[in-house]
Point group: C2
Chain length 336, copies 2
Amino acid sequence: MAFSKGPQAARITSTDVARAAGVSRATVSFVLNGTSTARISEETRSRVLAAADELGYVPHAAARSLRAGRSDLILLPAAVSATGRLFSDWVDDMETALGERGYTVVLHGNRSPDPVTAARAWAQLRPAAVLAMAPNSLTAEAVQVLAQAGTTAVLTIAPEPMPGVFTLLGDQSDIGRVAAEHLVSRGRRRIGVLMPTERGLSAFAEPRLAGIQRVATVHGATVTPLPMPYGGEAASALAVLCRELGLDAVFGYNDEYAALLSAALNDHGVDVPGQIAVVGADDLLLAQIVRPQLTSVRYRLPAADLIADTVDSLINRGTAEPLPSVWFEPVPRQSS
Amino acid sequence: MAFSKGPQAARITSTDVARAAGVSRATVSFVLNGTSTARISEETRSRVLAAADELGYVPHAAARSLRAGRSDLILLPAAVSATGRLFSDWVDDMETALGERGYTVVLHGNRSPDPVTAARAWAQLRPAAVLAMAPNSLTAEAVQVLAQAGTTAVLTIAPEPMPGVFTLLGDQSDIGRVAAEHLVSRGRRRIGVLMPTERGLSAFAEPRLAGIQRVATVHGATVTPLPMPYGGEAASALAVLCRELGLDAVFGYNDEYAALLSAALNDHGVDVPGQIAVVGADDLLLAQIVRPQLTSVRYRLPAADLIADTVDSLINRGTAEPLPSVWFEPVPRQSS
DNA sequence: ACACCCAGTTTACACGTGTTACCAGTGCTC
DNA sequence: GAGCACTGGTAACACGTGTAAACTGGGTGT
């Protein structure tokens, strides 16, 4: 890789600040970090602060965490496009809550389907914590990679506790279960399940399908997986297929996919919910906007502040109190 | 801040790899980075690789960039929740495109409204590039902070070129302009404009409003800003207000807000577009799902690959060819 | 005169890595 | 055997920072 730096502004380090204030670099560090073990006179203190401000000094996070052996970085691996509004609002709240506690939250779109490869990429940043909320994003080996990199706090959502990981109990398949129980209770027995073909979504879609299949088996209902790319034409084609297959209900994976199909069914003269019931998930605002209003499944995460405290505790004390599970509830509306 | 590290796995460094392979640390570095200036025998090469794999060695990005004086980090400041699907798809593509070029893309939700404070936070990470796509997220001073931190590539979208910044020409007010021209051409003269009250959105909303006002002034139309929180009740209240004010058109800021209002208008017996026309923006899939289908304004960014090449060139050569502007076009549908 | 303490500051080392010199050996030529 | 080129490798420094330990004067008690 050829590198010609080009014209470059002088990089300001704490040494420059020290020189400008006429003190040693250690003093600068003490002042800027408010180290209480060192006594600094008020006069030098203000001189250092003035010099730092004057020069526009900004500390070098990499050097700092290298020396300190810890970083204030918290990594949240998640592809932006693969998140619904509910989750991205939660991410926003987490950024605020953790920011208030002095951490720097950073999102990183995970390009590797293999947990160990992904973990290696995360580990390079030596984050203080990793919040791996996507299902199946961790394995035992991946956790070990993170531990060796000094990441003390690893958080995930999983159906069962993982060793070495703070596990928020919650099962994607419960979404399918709740949806299926709802549909069965309304007398539906021939259930189609939309399976999005977009990258990164199958980790969510597969368990939801499994949850539906378990309920269906008990009640003697049939389940038909229906692969579907995100888009209007695909939905239209699928609407025709649903009619031909004689389905009486479809679980849409998601409110967006469900609404897409619902609109397409309407366009083809299929009555929703008269002929085919449609159920989404995530309870997006979209579900309330479309007509017929969309029945959905909503999930609830523990409050961001609560989780932030947990992460903080994991980082500083290595342990934390358990949190309530993630739970799901049906939100019945017009489409079912 | 009290720190008790707790039980901690041994941290593996290149020194450990060197010891395990029976070579010096320099040799390890040469092998792992494929340095071509140093000649290494095939036999030691494989021994080093085996040792690194065996120990699960992961390089320390901070130490690496500290020593090298550059980092492969690219910072994309953006609140996840404040992005439409169009933009988040683009972010996804950028992560892929830049990842292929060897960079690590990282998103950071910007909690500070002040550009200089925000820039200082970004500068701590010493990123190779900053893609500040939100409007008004940069000032001259903020750019200087980044430059002093060694960030060679700064990219933004703005109406006019900024010195020291690679500016993608594009004006949010053009969205308002395009929407207003469309409405005026359909005979509308009393235009309401939704102004979302959510955090971070006013930077987008204000210029769009300004664009509408400019067009309105020319054609003798009136413009009424309508503050609105994201939600069904607010939309309902606003629907009533729109009727009382005798508006004949509303620009909804966004497809989501527009669809919300459109549904509320329908619920209150107001005919869309008969009595009030509604126009959104971003051309989300949502616009095609709702009935009446929503007229929207779509924007186009240069392809992610093109921008990634530009960023790469800015980092390595300090300069890059200009790119085509961001541009906007109306997408007429049933709601206007 | 000496020991001792205290406030205020500096010296010196460590963190993990990339890279520029430099070095040891071997074969080859004159 | 001296000189040289080449192969394969190592020693040592630098990056910017945090912090334990040492240092300096001046005061204070005995």
